[in-house]
């Protein structure tokens, strides 16, 4: 048994050293190489990661720019559209206000005309009365100068009163016309203010809606 063990040891030892030569040394070299490769790969991965992050950030930036550009484009289109609408609407509103002002002036004229006719009618009635009264005085008091004088003075007084009232009427009517025309001018002035308010409100609403449409629901 001991002999067999001795003979086996003679064969096994050189075989073991041969296997060591054949397998152990390349395994170490392989592990070393693998470690090197791993380091290289990690370095490459790090570079790739960095480059990729930069690329994605640049793309996001670009997309943001595109979005801003699109936003600006739609916004300026909306501004142009509503500037045109503003101009058209402004013209129509001015025309509507002018028509109304014209109508108010016509009504003022109509009013002044109707009042004047009324006064002329009354004035004619008073004048006819006065003429008849003078005739009456002449017929009834031909020989009574005192009575004639008293009555004629009374009629004259009435006519003077009428003239004074007519003057007051003309003065009042003139001030009415001035007041009404002022009111009509204020109508135009306030109308222009209304146009501004309406259009400003309308345009800000529309632009807001347009921008909201681009941004989408939040």
């Amino acid at each position: 048994m001991a002999i067999i063990a001795a003979i086996a040891s003679i064969f096994v030892k050189p075989l073991a050293s041969l296997a060591g030569l054949l397998f152990d040394e390349p395994r170490e070299a392989f592990a070393h190489k693998r470690e090197k490769d791993m380091q290289k790969h990690e370095a490459e991965l790090e570079v790739y990661k960095k480059t990729e992050v930069e690329r994605i950030l640049a793309e996001i930036d670009e997309a943001k720019k595109d979005r801003d550009l699109e936003r600006m484009k739609v916004f300026s289109e909306a501004v142009m559209k509503y500037k045109n609408e503003y101009a058209k609407l402004n013209m129509e509103m001015i025309s509507a206000i002018s028509n109304m002002q014209l109508d108010l002036r016509e009504r003022t004229q109509e009013y002044v005309h109707s009042q004047t006719l009324k006064y002329i009618e009354l004035q004619n009635t008073v004048l006819n009365q006065a003429t008849n009264d003078f005739k009456k005085i002449e017929n009834m008091f031909k020989k009574n100068d005192r009575a004639k004088d008293v009555l004629e003075r009374s009629v004259e007084k009435r006519l003077v009163g009428l003239l004074e009232t007519t003057e007051t009427f003309i003065r009042d009517l003139s001030s009415d016309v001035i007041r009404l025309n002022k009111c009509s001018d204020e109508f135009i002035f306030n109308g222009s203010k209304t146009i501004d308010e309406v259009l400003r409100g309308r345009i800000s609403t529309i632009q807001y809606n347009d921008v909201k449409q681009i941004d989408g629901p939040k």
Partner: protein, 157 residues
């Protein structure tokens, strides 16, 4: 496309406005009839008063519409187009071709301002009527005093 519910509500509001118009005339609303008798011999002022009444009535539609919540664009356009037709049909001094009256906010303000301006003319007319009545009174008084004077002098003679 107008929603059926919106259309029904709009038509019901228009019907309500028409019924108010009829009701006020049938029941002889003093606000209207007082003026009708007050200015019955003054056509100019009477016409102005009628216009003022119609402005109030037309603006009632716009007031109702502003409280009406569910408004689609087509429903709004349809209603304002109807209003534009009504305004041009009932009011003088309104250019029918204009699209201005299809914008409720402007139409309402403009009509209210017009009403205020017409009421101003009516107010002037009222104050002038007082002066005119005073003048008629003075003429009648002078005439009577003159007749008395004649009678007195005739007696003396």
């Amino acid at each position: 496309m107008i929603l059926k519910s919106e259309l029904e509500e709009l038509l019901s509001n228009l019907r309500k406005a028409r019924s108010i118009l009829v009701e006020e005339f049938v029941s002889e609303n003093p606000d209207i009839f007082t003026a009708m008798f007050k200015y019955d011999n003054d056509n100019v002022v009477m016409n102005m008063y009628i216009d003022c009444y119609f402005i109030t009535w037309l603006n009632y539609h716009l007031e109702v519409f502003s409280c009406f919540n569910a408004k689609s664009v087509s429903c709004r356009n349809w209603f304002l187009s109807c209003m534009s037709d009504l305004i041009s049909k009932y009011l003088k001094g309104v250019n029918t071709d204009s699209h201005v009256y299809k914008r409720s906010e402007f139409a309402y303000t403009l009509l209210e301002k017009k009403k205020a301006a017409i009421m101003h003319i009516i107010k002037c007319s009222d104050s002038n009527k007082l002066k005119y009545n005073k003048l008629v009174y003075a003429v009648e008084k002078d005439k009577k005093l003159f007749e008395r004077e004649i009678a007195k002098l005739k007696e003396e003679a």
